[in-house]
Symmetry: C2
Subunit: 537 residues, 2 copies
């Protein structure tokens, strides 16, 4: 009861309206033509150019490829159709009212890509770019991925004039690059099935936030929607419904869609825990959990059976053919050691080999990681590191538990690399974007360690959307714009002055309003970021 009262006091209109003087209109009026995530270096002038779709062209001055031409087509459509929303009233005027800040028409964007396109995005890809906005604007990058990021920035600079009669873009110079290499979003498609259409929209939204890793937590205890060709029974018996599967074609489509946006798709097949749905078709993979003499359910995979590893080897081989990224997430979290301890055969095995249940987990992970394709690199949840499994130096350890600072320090001192997620769980519904925005993993470690060299081992982080309480109906508005806070933290320059929510600069509140409306106009059903307001869609 007490808990409820506190909640009511915090969230009722009581709180929100009790500021002494209330102003009519939106709480944070949106900015105009400001970029999210904030570019590293940006100089913006008051002078502006006007935009007329029929007098604008994009020129490719150097290298090109399908990714570039498709991106130009996409962004041309966005700039022509999505700026300012439906009730804009663009007038193409040859004689316009004199405005001394007006510098003429934006006539051209010249794109210089100085190196051939790469086939797929990867951890160490170059995403930097330079952009100059003037009558003939220039976008330069030595990487197709940088060009993609620059095009997104370019599109975000446009805005509607106050009288809604003109699309404008200010004279601007931008030099931009990401702070962290791995900027991910985890989506869980096992607790609830998410349709392809919403996964593609999620990729669109990631593009708008310059996130570059789609961590697909594709299967789990509840359902197994991955439709294998060599083990079709896994989804036949493990999916919620025959309509709720991801086929090879679906996966190819998602991977290609992501590739064209510079987004890597990393599948997670979480083992040995979180695998109960695998048992619907392959019960012998799992461990029978006992209470006394009685079997009370199924637990983690059986780490002592060769057949377990054989199936995983064959399945992983197929998965790695379908997902071209070098990285593969093998999970390793929350293994129910109590189940292993309860099982008579495993008890005997442990006794015979003088092993603890934790040793079984270590044994399992040690056996599983070599099943991955040559040259591939594992990602694991922090437990695998915590339990002392020897990991190659290019393994990424994903930190998610609440003792995150000491955990990160241990990992970095051991010379391993890590991804940070602990404070970025989107299923924490009380967390606003500002709650996510204040955490910066390198800054947190630096504050304790004062050691700059270790920090490079933090290669990035991920916002995690676990699926217990989200499905196709609410996943987009649960993720966006809150994940945008994580996206900016991972892309933009460090902001050492942000030490708590109250030190978040007010400009960010205004800018995320514009960004949210921008996402909504581009088809993402984002929720309001910070309070009363509106978007003209």
């Amino acid at each position: 009861m007490l808990k409820w009262i506190i909640t009511a006091v915090c969230f009722g209109s009581i709180f929100v309206d009790s500021f002494w003087v209330v102003k009519p209109g939106p709480k944070y009026p949106p900015t105009k033509g400001e970029v999210w995530p904030k570019p590293q270096y940006e100089t913006k002038e008051n002078t502006f150019y006007t935009f007329n779709p029929s007098h604008f062209k994009v020129k490719i001055l150097d290298q090109t490829c399908d990714i570039l031409t498709n991106a130009i087509e996409r962004y041309s459509y966005i700039v022509k159709s999505k700026i300012g929303g439906r009730n804009r009233n663009i007038k193409i005027r040859s004689h316009r009212k004199h405005n001394e800040l007006h510098r003429g028409m934006l006539s051209e964007l010249d794109i210089t890509l100085s190196a051939p396109c790469e086939e797929y995005p990867y951890l160490d890809m170059d995403e930097s770019y330079n952009l100059t906005v003037s009558a003939t604007s220039k976008l330069y990058s030595s990487s197709i991925w940088g060009v993609l990021r620059g095009l997104e920035t370019f599109a975000q600079l446009f805005y509607l004039s106050d009288d809604r009669n003109e699309i404008r873009i200010n004279t601007t110079q931008i030099s931009d690059f990401p702070r962290y290499k791995h900027r991910g979003l985890l989506l869980d498609t096992s607790r609830h099935y998410i349709t392809i259409s919403n996964i593609l929209k999620t990729l669109d939204a990631m593009t708008m936030n310059k996130m570059n890793v789609f961590h697909w937590h594709i299967v789990d205890d509840q359902s197994f929607p991955y439709q294998s060709e060599i083990f079709p029974e896994l989804s036949e018996k493990g999916a919620y419904d025959s309509s709720m599967v991801y086929t090879k074609e679906d996966i190819e489509r998602i991977v290609q869609y992501a590739r064209e946006r510079g987004i890597r798709v990393i599948p997670e097949f979480d083992v040995p825990g979180h695998t109960v749905s695998w048992g619907n078709s392959h019960p012998s993979l799992l461990t029978e959990c006992y209470e006394g003499e009685e079997v009370i359910g199924m637990g983690p995979m059986d780490p002592t059976k060769n057949t377990t590893y054989k199936l995983l080897r064959d399945l992983f081989q197929e998965v790695q053919t379908w997902f071209p990224d070098k990285y593969f997430h093998v999970g390793g979290d929350e293994v129910q050691l109590d189940c292993w301890k309860s099982n008579p055969e495993l008890r005997q095995y442990m006794k015979r080999n003088n092993l603890t249940a934790a040793d079984l987990h270590t044994l399992f992970m040690r056996n599983v990681i070599p099943l991955l394709a040559e040259n591939s690199k594992p990602i694991v949840w922090q437990e695998v590191f915590d339990e002392g499994v020897t990991l190659s130096k290019d393994t990424l350890i994903q930190v998610w538990k609440y003792n995150w600072i000491s955990e990160m320090i241990s990992i970095l001192y051991s010379g391993q690399k890590l991804l940070f997620s602990s404070t970025w769980y989107l299923d924490s519904i009380t967390s606003q974007w500002t709650d996510f925005y204040v955490f910066d993993p390198r800054k947190m470690v630096y504050d304790v360690m004062q050691n700059q060299t270790l920090l490079e081992g933090i290669v990035g982080g991920e916002a995690c959307m676990w699926g217990e309480m989200v499905d196709d109906r609410n996943v987009l508005n649960r993720v966006w714009p809150r994940a945008s806070a994580v996206a900016e933290r991972l892309w933009s320059a460090p902001t050492y002055h942000i030490i708590s929510k109250s030190s978040i600069p007010i400009e960010a509140y205004h800018r995320i309003e514009e960004h949210t409306c921008r996402m909504i106009r581009r088809g993402i059903d984002a929720q309001p970021p910070s309070g009363p307001g509106f978007c003209v869609v």
Copy 2:
């Protein structure tokens, strides 16, 4: 920081997955053909009838009217098209596999409405009905509103057989009526504008939950979307955007749509506080708030000016022509007395008349209530009662603050009637449906008072969806299915054994899953109620 940690622990997948033995599949598999809110008396047998749209007819045996014929058309479509979702595979078989529970085809529904239809729903309307399901099913009520409730129940009894080949309905007898007369949902369309389409969907969802009052908190500080004909400047200057208004035609459409579903539409024009947006066009209505010698913003309406009351009288007259319900909500909450105290003219007025700022509020409400049309009845927020304004006995006092039990007791002892809302604020996003489900206003008062006769003064309650953090994108999934918990508490028989969340019967978890899928199939983007699962839409 500590707060964050607690949140992470409570909401991460840590918590949800840490049960010892996890089962694959949905956490609470949905029921089949169970009604929400639960009917007062229901006898259901294992025997069932099958349903074939082309061999089914509805007969009206007594009175009829447009409301009834329209409802039959709506429900015929729902039963034919919305049971079981898209992947059903209905086979109309003349020779079906023998099933000893099968009692044949459902061929007919006979509707007996024994009294002429009433024009509009109202507080004391009769919503009781009797329903018998057999080959020729019978629905009886002495009121059109009861027939509507019975048709909804009838539609909810259908379900798809496990093999998805048949629509079935079990032999059932139901005798049903509401526990509380006023079962409302407040929707705030000022903090964010909600489109007509989503208001109509909200009415659809209310129908499915047998809620009967749409409390339209139409204007507030932030925006004034009500488009008056006599004061068009109020929305011209007070709406967020010229596209974000409700015209007379919009309101008529909503009122008619609601009427056909037995839902009353009660507008709230909250005065004298929460009115800053009125000042965009009529600044002189408001009080200038001072800090020292300086005006720092606008506060509540000025209670000392005749022009204030004149505008309200004319506006209310128009509003009451457009909204036919006898009740009218005049607000009266959260008046910023500090602003009144800061204003030099009001200070003088108070001094001259020996009044406190609280007296000014009393004065204001005393002046405003008589401005309503003759025979109309006010609803006010609890502050108006708390400050001692004399109110007619048919005034409804809406209790929303956290000291709700003592507040209700004071109101009831004074012989007034009340609506309960304190624990049903849907903007409390941490609250699950179960958090709302455990509160029963009459039960709470009875537990303290042990006095049955007073309880009739609690005429109902409302779930409140304040609009700070919801807009068109997330309003449906923020409200549903959580408001369904309130709907059942207000309709169904009291459940004295529910004293905390842990005493909620497991059947309710399964039943709300079915109900949520049912809402989704009928176009309401409800969110998952309690955890992993799926709906075939």
